[in-house]
């Protein structure tokens, strides 16, 4: 299956892309998608937190719905899903 990943804010620089199409085996979950994207220590650190959990400092949305409270890294993926990734910011 093919998943579209949209990078926003400084993730565009980090992943050197605005958008990527990633091929994954059927039944893959978000953890596998992110694992395949994070092919450097810097990328891995930006996405994964302690003990390989999802970093609390990023927001990931699947088809417009944030995954934070609905599956997280175990969120199931389907062919054609669109994943958006951007950092959390909090200054004012």
């Amino acid at each position: 299956m093919h998943i579209k990943v949209k990078f926003l804010a400084y993730f565009r620089d980090l992943f050197q892309s605005r958008e990527k199409i990633i091929a994954l085996p059927e039944g893959a979950r978000l953890r596998q998608l992110l694992g395949s994207l994070c092919d450097s220590a810097e990328r891995h650190k930006a996405v994964f937190g302690k003990e390989e959990s999802l970093s609390p400092h990023i927001v990931i949305m699947k088809n417009g719905v944030p995954v934070q409270n609905s599956g997280g890294l175990d969120a199931a993926l389907e062919n054609g899903d669109v994943i958006a990734i951007f950092p959390f910011i909090g200054g004012g």
């Binding site: 910011i89 909090g90 200054g91």
Partner: protein
């Protein structure tokens, strides 16, 4: 100030299609946090002639605020922000009624703060206070215009459940951020003006463009992205009946 002077003051904006000065005059907006975001939104809401601005902040002006918090000047250092902001805004537009609240936002004070306002503008600098405001906005059904900045980045969103999701759909409580947050003036200025624009549209009965969407502004690459934010069916706040 006479009616004639009032008409003259707003003579350019009433030419804007769809503009309704009377609706704006009858409205109350709450701005929580008078920093970089709140400075920009307060100045432009006052200039536009909103009826009442409720200003909330308990901090004093520091020198390091002056690169971005355009309500203040060198002589403001050490004074309470609400007082300085009140002075500046009254000088800009004496027709606007100002409520200056030197109050710390927490779960005990938030109820009184939002009472009677049509819209809430977020000028805060931490997520914990934003969640308190978001929760009250949900409880009282008052729209909450989110804004946040960091470095070259600025975000803005318009949350109004059940029509849209809420901040808790998107982010989890307990996030930490570096102190001090890197920021320069134009980014909160840009986001604060977007927040003021959306507030004015809402008050005038025009659908806010950020309803259920997040604006991601990147000043470094000068990009503006709009991300649709659907309701999170597992949101700990707004998904509950």
């Amino acid at each position: 100030m006479g009616r004639e002077r009032e008409s003259e003051r707003y003579s350019r904006q009433i030419l804007v299609p769809g503009w309704n000065q009377e609706k704006l005059k009858r409205a109350t907006a709450l701005i929580v946090g008078l920093g970089g975001l709140g400075s920009a939104s307060a100045l432009y809401l006052a200039g536009a002639g909103i009826g009442r601005l409720r200003l909330c902040d308990c901090d004093k002006v520091e020198r390091s605020d002056l690169n971005r918090q355009v309500l203040y000047e060198e002589s403001s250092i050490g004074s309470f922000k609400v007082e300085e902001a009140g002075r500046r805004l009254a000088a800009l537009n004496p027709l606007v009624e100002l409520e200056k609240l030197n109050v710390f936002l927490d779960s005990h004070t938030v109820g009184e703060l939002v009472k009677g306002c049509q819209v809430i503008l977020d000028g805060l600098d931490n997520l914990e206070s934003r969640f308190i405001l978001n929760q009250e906005s949900f409880k009282k059904r008052i729209p909450y215009i989110y804004g946040a900045v960091h470095g070259w980045l600025g975000y803005a969103g318009f949350f109004h459940p059940p029509q849209t999701g809420c901040l808790a759909c998107l982010m989890q409580p307990g996030l930490s951020q570096p102190e001090p947050v890197p920021v320069f003036g134009t980014v909160p200025g840009m986001i604060g003006l977007v927040q003021a624009t959306e507030a004015i549209k809402w008050i005038q009965g025009i659908a806010p463009s950020l309803l259920g969407r997040l604006l991601i502004y990147d000043g470094l690459h000068l990009t503006f992205d709009l991300v649709n934010v659907d309701k999170n069916p597992a949101c700990p706040l707004c998904s509950k009946k």
